[in-house]
Every structure is written in structure tokens, then in C-alpha cells.
Amino acid sequence: MKGNGTKIGFIVAFLAISIYYLWPTLANVLEQNYIDDLPQAERVEYRQENTQRLQDLRQNSLSLGLDLQGGMHVTLEVGTAQFLRELAGENADTTLVNVIEDAKQTALQNDTDFIDEMVNEFEQRYPDGRLSRYYRSDAENITRRSSNQEIQEYLKKQRDSAVDRAMEIIRTRVDRYGVTEPGIFKQGNNRVVVELPGVANKERVRNLLKGTARLEFRLVAQPDEISNAKDRILSYYNNQASSDTTDSVQQGGAQNPLTQVLSTRTRNPYVFGYASGRDTAKVNELLDRPEVQNLLPRNVVLMWGANAFQETQQGGEMFRLIGVRSEVELTGEVIEEASVNFDRATNQPRVSMNMNAEGARRWARITGANIGKPIAIVLDGYVYSFPNVETKISNGRSSISGLESVTEAEDLVNILLSGALPAPLQIIEERTVGATLGEQSIQAGFYSTLIGLLIVAIFMIVYYRSGGAIADLALILNIVFILGILAAFKATLTLPGIAGIVLTIGMAVDANVLIFDRIREEARSGKTLRASIEGGYSNAMSAIMDANVTTFFVGVILYSFGVGPIKGFAVTLMAGIVSSLFSAIVITRVVVDYLTRDKSADVSFG
């Protein structure tokens, strides 16, 4: 009986803390039920009157993982290779590009840092070479004299800040999109994890996240340049088709592979050709060959139109391939304001933009010098429109038309205003769970917990009688503690997390099984009940500790290597071990001691 005062104190304290942390969760559930029961009209009013209180409750509640509440989880990777190329700017040459490409492969294979590999690769190839040839920065004091090691540090710093900036930009975009409580974290040195609860339109979010929003204004190529290049490329493929005899025998005549996928007879002199949406990849492949690229004038590139310009009878969408200049006249950095409005003539949505003073000055010069000629508005490598310049534009205004919908226009404004990403982002992992599936999972988890608890509780009472009942009491408190720990540490409850709780219910009684079996053993050797209890608890201790410490280790390992939902499992497993040790050893002991306080008392352990 001695010392039980402290034990009781601990139990009460832990229980109080758990309830304190779980209170908002409970209140939130009750509040939601209350709102659901209200008539439709009163709901909105009630919500408005209590906005702040409801929000606080939700924020302090035990948060549910995306697999339970539905939503979208995306891992984005910053394209370090391209970032390093672009950071070198005009200094980049084939040497650097090759080094970067090779470093990319080795870094992938050995799972090492990309920048370390790049510096290694460079030094191996050019023992006396200096990276300062490529990278300079006045702000960071990187000069021609900087050593490779200094450059290495500088590059890492630049990459880190690029990832940080990317995160900031993503946060702005997500906030503007309107997601409640999004999660945005950095993972490793070049990855960003974005968690968006309750997001339904995945396509929109994808474009929003990875849209680099590189807005460019380019001149369009001369009509004769385009038609000459077209003739050269067509005759190249004609020659190739006729020399390929095996093909002609099988197909009964030589076929030009390019004209099969690309219609080259166009009315618009700036359009190289057009193709259906599913053929564009094939066209790209045919045109990307180095020998074909050489047939194009050096300062001309072919770019696809962003949206279909017409539909075929079968409902296929046709896209135009437009010849534009490779030089960029003006970029989106000069954009100060952007907004959605409608074209008066066509009633189509468009994005109107306002440039800053510097941009407006250059825009005036560009438009003034190209009256009567088209200027292409290019976004992320696609031509949105190439309107003819009618007059010199000196007020710094421009607009993007050719947009499919108002939402596309709105998202574009969002992307333009939140700034261009410092490097392209790629989605390397994406997981979404619908809200209904999440709800089903919550229900499944809840019933599993309940049924599991019931079966184990009944079994314990049948097998250990009153001892079992005491263990059951500890078990129920145990669940309260686990949830309390999760709430206190602001952990997220996931479906595997619930599985962890269910598993804990089965394993938590283990400590009590060890103790009770030991008590029975002691009793068999002829000891009194009190002595058996004393012996049972103390002798079972080392086995209980060993068994739980090892399982706890496994939990720690799972936590450090696992991702997302698995982490949730590891957390509940660890919380379960800690709280089940406490409840199985301390709580049952206090109850058993209390019940056996009289010498004559009898507690059955079955």
C-alpha cells in the first residue's frame, strides 16, 4: 500500500492531461453533430456566429491524416540540373552541360548529393579547371578567383534558397487557391511535400503546383523562313522514306513519316503545321532529331499552341505548331498586376497584365518596331496567342487570350502574381483519397477498435476473472492515454495509425498476462495472495521491460524510415507501448492493492 499515493497522483495527473488535450476533439465532434441536426437555415447562421470558436476547436482537435479526411498529397522535386544550368546563365557551355548530365546520373545511382557529384565530376575531368568560369555572384562574393570549394558552398546555398523560394511560392499559390490548413514541408534537400486536405480538382492543383509560369514575349519567324524550313524538312523525310526499301515493300509505297502525323498545308504563314493532340508526341520526336533541327534557321524554334484551334469531325482536337524566334524579347518578371476580364469581341476570358516602368519602356520599343507583325505570348513553352501588333503600346499593357475557361484564367493570374518558380518542379509522388473513402476508413477503424476491444476484454474476464476485469479497466484508460498523447504531440491520426491502436489493444494486455501468470505461479508454490501479487509484479518486470523496449525500438526505426501514413502507425505503436506499460503496471497495481487491502480479501486471477 505504501507509495500508492504517488501512483494515484500520477494516474490522476495523466488522465487529467489526456482529457485536457482531448477536450477540443470531443467538443468539435459534438459541435459538428449539433450543427448537422440543425435545420438548413439555422446552420449557416450558427456557423457565422461562432466562426472563431469553431475554428479554434478544429485547430486544437486531434488532426486526421489525408487518408481519413480525404485530400491530396504531392511530393515535388526541384529540377537541380536545370537550375544549375540556368544559374550559370550565358557562361554555360557544352562542357558544363555534360558535367551536369553525368553528375545527375551518378548522384542518382549512388544516392549522393547532386552538387557534390557535379564538383567531383568537374574536377576529375579538368584537374586544373575552375568552376568560377561558370558561376559568379557579387552579392555572395564569388569572383573569378573563388576556389571550387567556395563555389560548391555557394551552389548549395543557392539551391537551398531556390527550394525555400519554391516553397514560399507554392504556399502563396495554395493560399490563393483556397485550401484550409494546407501542409507544406521540405523533404531532403530538393523536395517539397504539399498536403492539401479536401481538395477535389486534382488537375487544377497539379497545374497550379508545377506551373513555372515562365511568361515570354517573342517575335514570330518570317513567313519565308518557315516555309523554306518546311520544304527542307519535308524533302529530308521524303528522301528517307524512298531510300527505306524494306518499308516501301511492306506498305506498298514510300510514306513520308512526318506528313502522316502533321498536316503541313496551312493558311496562316506563321504556322508550320498542325496535328491532333495524340500525334504531338510523335511529331516532337520526328522534329527533335539533331539532323532535322539543323534544317531550321538557328534563330527559329517551333512551339505548340497551348489550346486546340479546331476540332476534327471525329471530335479530335487539332493543335498548331508555330515558328517563333529563339530570342526572348521580354519575360514575365516585368508583370506588376494581372487580372481576369473578358474580350469584348469574342466574350472569351483573358488575363490583362500591367508592366512596371522598365517593362513598359521595353514593351513600347518592341511593339513600336514590329507594327503589323505578330508577337507570340509564350507561357511555359506553349504559345497562347500571337496577335498582330497594331500600334505602339506605351502604357505597358498586354493580355493573354486563348484561354479555355475562367478558372484557367484565374489560376494563371494566381501563378503570375505569386512569382515564377526559380526552377521547374516535377511531381514525383501523388496520392489522393476521396472524402467518402476517408469516411469509410474512419468508420472501419472505429468499428475495428470497438470490436477488438470487446473481444479482448471479454476474453480477459473469462480467463482471469476479476484480474481480467482490472486489466480491462487499464486497457480502456490506455486508449484514452494513447489518444491524449497523440493530441498533446499534435500527431496526425492515419488509418495505419488506427491499426496501430487496434494492435496495441491486443498487445497491451501482454504485460498483464505476464503479471497474472506469474501471480498464479507464485500462488501454486504456496505463497499467500498478497505475497503472490508482490512476487508476480516484481518478477514479471524484467520480461515486460525487455519485450517492450525491443518493440519500441522497432517503432523508432519505422518512424525514421517510414513516410506519411506509416509514420502514423509508428507513432501510435510507440505511444501505445508507453501508455500500456503505465496502465498495465501502475494502474492495475493500484487497483489490485486496493482490493486486497484487507488480509481476508480475495481477488481471483482465474
Partner: protein, 303 residues
Amino acid sequence: MRWFETPNFDFIKVHNYAYIFSGILIVLSIIGIFTKGLQYGIDFKGGKEFVLEFEKPVNVTDIRSQLSGPLEGTPSVKLFGSPRDILIRTDNPGDITEVQNTIMSNMEELYSDNSANVIKTDIVGPRFAEDLKEGALNAIIFALIVVFIYILIRFKDWTFSAGAVTALFHDVLIVLGVFTIFGDLMPFSMQIDQSIIAAFLTIVGYSLNDTVVVFDRVRENNLLYKTMDYGEMVNKSLNDTLSRTVITSLTTLFVVTVLFIFGGEVLKGFSFALMLGIIIGTYSSLFVATPTVVELQSRKENA
């Protein structure tokens, strides 16, 4: 109620049969793993998975043949719990949105009066999958090392560590074998993904739990019965703890079975791995881990 009040089974005597039994299972598992290869799930292989919920039941074969052309390569199509829910997995490298649109337009074509909803998607890039695989492998190796060292420190005898780790290998290998060989026959996904790795590590923890309790008793009895033959003493320890071993295994098996039945489709593979693991783990701590210790001890003494 009392089971195994004062049991007196001779575990050590039958250990040769147990070795043969375990040996057969392990050899079969290894053959299965080598001939069929580990059946990696999306987490470790990469790819795109879509779960579609239809209004009415649908036909898996029809969907598969409908999608084979447009997705360039036969996708894997399975039921996801109910006959209205379908899991489609494809290796098509195209853009996520495009692949999803292709699937949805083809489903509309196939079932014009039975509309579908995407309720779950998992897209994992090949490089990310590689990272996850590496992480999982590290976790398992790391867990085994930590276990070995902890037992070495706690029991101050490498034979205990060796016995425990042998049993763990045994358990994980057999569960892995079952998943590889019977993966296609089960109505739920038994591919190896992150949650299965979590299950494996839990099995490691659980099986260890059992083994450690027996070892603990061996250590205690070793001090109490100094004159007793080592094998006999170990056997007594196994019998002493038998009741606890069985009861804990039962309660854990109860809850895991509940999870398997009521936990929903997402947890099926995970809870099935745990069910198998608990049964095999209990068996291995009785018939593999402890006899291994006895054998190693007698060799150590004879050497």
C-alpha cells in the same frame, strides 16, 4: 479458466521435426521468391494506380481489355473490396491528368449507363519508388542489427542474439514467401509496399517480444537450477511461459483478425501479413529461436 497450468511438452526433443518443417517452408519460400520474384507494389515499383467506384457492379475482364489499347500495355485490373470498386494499375509513363482522362473516357464508353468516380489515386515516380525501396531495406536491416545488439547487451551472450535473429529471418522469409507465391490467388492486394514493410517490422517486434520473454525465463531459471541439464532447463522455461505465450498470441491474433475483417480494403494486405506473422512468430519462438540457442550453447561448450 486455466490452460497449460503445468505443461510438460518436450520442445527441445521435437526441434528436429520443427527444423525440417521450417526448412521446407523456407526452401519453398526461397524458390517462390527466386522464380516469381518479389511482387512489388506501387510504392517500390512506381506507376499509377486509380481506384474507381461505379454505381453498379462491373466486369474486371471487360475493363482490362477495354483499357489495354489506349493505355499501351495491359493494365492490372482488380476488384477493390466490392464488385463496384475497381483498382486499375498502369505503367503508362504519360502525364497523370491525361492517363486519368483516358481511363475515364474509356469507362464511359464501356459503361455508358454506369458512371464512375475516382476515389483514390496513387502515383509514384520510378526514382521516388527507388528511394522508398532503399528506405524500407535500410529499415529492416537496421531493425535486425538493433535487435541483435540489444539482446547481446541484455543477455550478455551472442547465442541468444543469434537465436532471436534466426527466428526473425525465419518469420519474415516465410511471410514474404506466402505473399509472393499466393499473391495472385487472394482477392485482395498482396503486393509488397510500404504498409507491408511496416507489418514486417511489427512482426519482427512481435516475434521478438515472444522470444525475449522465453529468454528472460531461461536466464532466470539458469540461476535457479544450476545442476539441471541446459536443454532440460530451457525446456522447463518454455513450459513455464507457455501459458503467457499462447494467451498473448491469442489476444493479438483476435484484434488483427478483427482488423482484417472490419478494417477496410486498404488494410487487408497489412493485417493479413500480421495474422501470418503472429502465427509463425509464436511457432518460431517456441520451436526455432530457443532450440537454436540450446544447440549453439552445446556446440560452444563442446568446442
